[in-house]
Point group: C2
Chain length 361, copies 2
DNA sequence: GAAAAAAGATAAATCGGTTTACTTTATTTG
DNA sequence: CAAATAAAGTAAACCGATTTATCTTTTTTC
């Protein structure tokens, strides 16, 4: 039965002795069809293993249940989880996701967007290579594709956006570290500074300044695409005298966490014993390594759902209305790397307010 | 110009004063069109920003340039990279990839495959939840979808398959560790045993037995879905007396590497100093942590390319011909975790033979 | 029981391309 | 120069669904 071609709606119509229009009606839930006909059609469908071809269906309907999702790369589990969540949420809403990777190149980004546009996607979700002012976002606007920008964007823009609340998460870390009695903290980021990293620094320092101006905060960012990141951190560390060494390090990215961790280990500085460590962007390995590492977890799943929800809402409103910025609440997973030698606490910190929605300009 | 509807081939035809058929011919490289007409059509295309709608095009052509790719999950960077590579290779061949995640559930797997089939994909690449004997593979065969099975399959099957050469990679590790003078090695895997893990154990032990029967190999696998993996390893370790402790551990999965690493650290056993560690499935963090970890890297990129290549070949042959099993060569990235205290070697080990192709039954 | 209204079914048009079969125009051949 | 051949172009059919407009049948109303 599966030899060669698949059954079409006309095959079903013929076999059940009705017209194709009637079959279509039955399949689309039109109720003005007599029961005996419904029965015969259903039987034929079953018999032939018929399933409607979405390509033909969507061509006629003039509307494509297709959403484009574009991320910089998929080797990164964060984006992987994002795409996965997007697929899941879209599927529930009856949409199919077609994805693309920009590979951190704006050239490729616009190329991918063009191809998505060829498919007449009804909407797009973009994690821009650069930011909401990059070429990808501009092209989406040009082409008039209703879109949601994700993750690498600052709060104000012409688009709906969904990002982690980097500012607030960092403030939470500040509060937590202050509570733990730390008076000298190093903020470190080994990757090129992005809007997200800026917000993280900002959130941490501004909160801390208000809380206790006496707490010393050092900030070490490798803006440039520095090769030997461990080296840069090492050099910086060398400048501390034995007494004014920071008692805590807040690593502002996953990669940075790794860099800090390895440099501390190389120097035989015990994490948690001599220096507390908090990472941004939680990962599997952080809970399995020893000591396990306290880290801010981004709500990937929620961000994905929110992105789809925002897109569908906008689609329903025909793209009209004010852009909305969604800031999703992060969670601080407290683990061994911030246990002072005496303490044995372990837990999870999450202010219970729901995510914030800020109405844009 | 981008207000509302997009230009169709008929708009182009009208604007350039020719028929739609002529426009179609020009776009599809038919040469029997006069230059002046070509020029006018190209101008109109440019002017209207026309791009053919693949949905309409593929409907008429009866052939979809669509490939289904199904992986268990995307949070895992290995599968992320795989999908990414598949997309890249498919794109080069003029195919669009639609993907899905089975989330380790066979229910979902068959559901996803059904939906892909609805789209009349011309072929599928599947990383099965279970194996080539699972429900997904069976359904693909039933539906008559030409497919390639990837990664979680044993060498013999009715499908074209692409896997890492786990057997040989492990043999390489065996050889390397023997060369380093290790006489007692622990093989550890913390995840449920799969075909891949079996091949890794097999490859290691069979090679070692041939090389030197006097070398002691302990194998510790948690077949069951054990919660406290570190605990199981710890208990096992406790049974060693001070003198018969293994001098090297070969962790058979990425996760296992992490488990071993953290348990050794907890016991203050220095990696590389007291015990050498080799991991299977390389990851970013392994080269940044200290000491950096020697690991077998799977050739994800190559596997992805190979999968697409195999699929396209089979598609070209109309699905006919013997199934071919592709075993892709892994690379052992040698790092600090296997440096004996005296040595300072660092390097990369890769026998220079090309990947093996074994003709199936 | 005839006319009007409602219900049920369908032929044909449509979506945006490609392809076939045919016509028109240009070129070559005898 | 007419006939044959080749080149260039197009109208119409088609892919597989949905939708519109129309037609047929059944039910209701007077």
């Amino acid at each position: 039965m599966e030899s060669g071609k698949r059954a079409t709606i006309h095959d079903v119509a013929r076999q059940s002795g009705v017209s194709a229009a009637t079959v279509s009606k039955i399949l689309n839930g039109v109720t003005t069809v007599k029961q005996p006909n419904v029965d015969r059609v259903m039987a034929a469908i079953e018999d032939l293993g018929y399933r409607a071809d979405p390509v033909a269906s969507e061509l006629r309907q003039g509307q494509r249940r297709l959403i484009a999702a574009i991320v910089p790369e998929l080797n990164n589990p964060f984006f992987g989880a994002l795409i996965s969540g997007i697929e899941d949420a879209a599927e529930t809403a009856g949409y199919k996701v077609i994805f693309g990777t920009s590979r951190e190149s704006e050239e490729r980004e616009i190329d991918v967007i063009q191809r998505m546009h060829d498919w007449r996607v009804s909407g797009a979700i973009l994690v821009p290579v650069q930011s909401e002012r990059g070429r990808g976002a501009a092209l989406l606007a040009d082409l008039g594709i209703t879109s949601v920008l994700l993750d690498r964007v600052s709060a104000s823009s012409a688009f709906d956006t969904v990002t982690a609340d980097n500012f607030r998460a960092s403030a939470d870390v500040a509060q937590y570290l202050a509570e733990q009695g730390h008076r000298h903290i190093l903020l470190h980021c080994a990757t090129a500074t992005s809007e997200a990293v800026r917000m993280r620094v900002e959130g941490f320092t501004s909160f801390m300044r208000r809380l206790d101006a006496g707490i010393r905060i050092d900030v070490l960012l490798n803006d440039i695409n520095e090769q030997d990141k461990r080296g840069v951190l090492g050099q910086h560390w060398d400048r501390y005298s034995t007494l004014d060494t920071p008692t805590a390090v807040f690593a502002l990215s996953q990669h940075s966490t790794l860099v800090v961790l390895s440099e501390l280990r190389r120097r035989k500085i015990t994490v948690s014993g001599q220096v507390a460590l908090v990472g941004f962007d939680d990962a599997d390995w952080m809970q399995t390594t020893w000591p396990s590492i306290t880290a801010v977890a981004q709500p990937v799943e929620i961000m994905a759902k929110q992105a789809i929800a925002a897109l569908l809402t906008r689609l329903a409103n025909d793209g009209k209305g004010y852009p909305i910025q969604h800031l999703e609440r992060c969670v601080l997973n407290i683990r061994e790397s911030t246990h002072s030698n005496d303490a044995g606490r372990i837990g999870r910190r999450n202010l219970d307010q729901p995510r914030t929605q800020i109405r844009g300009e």
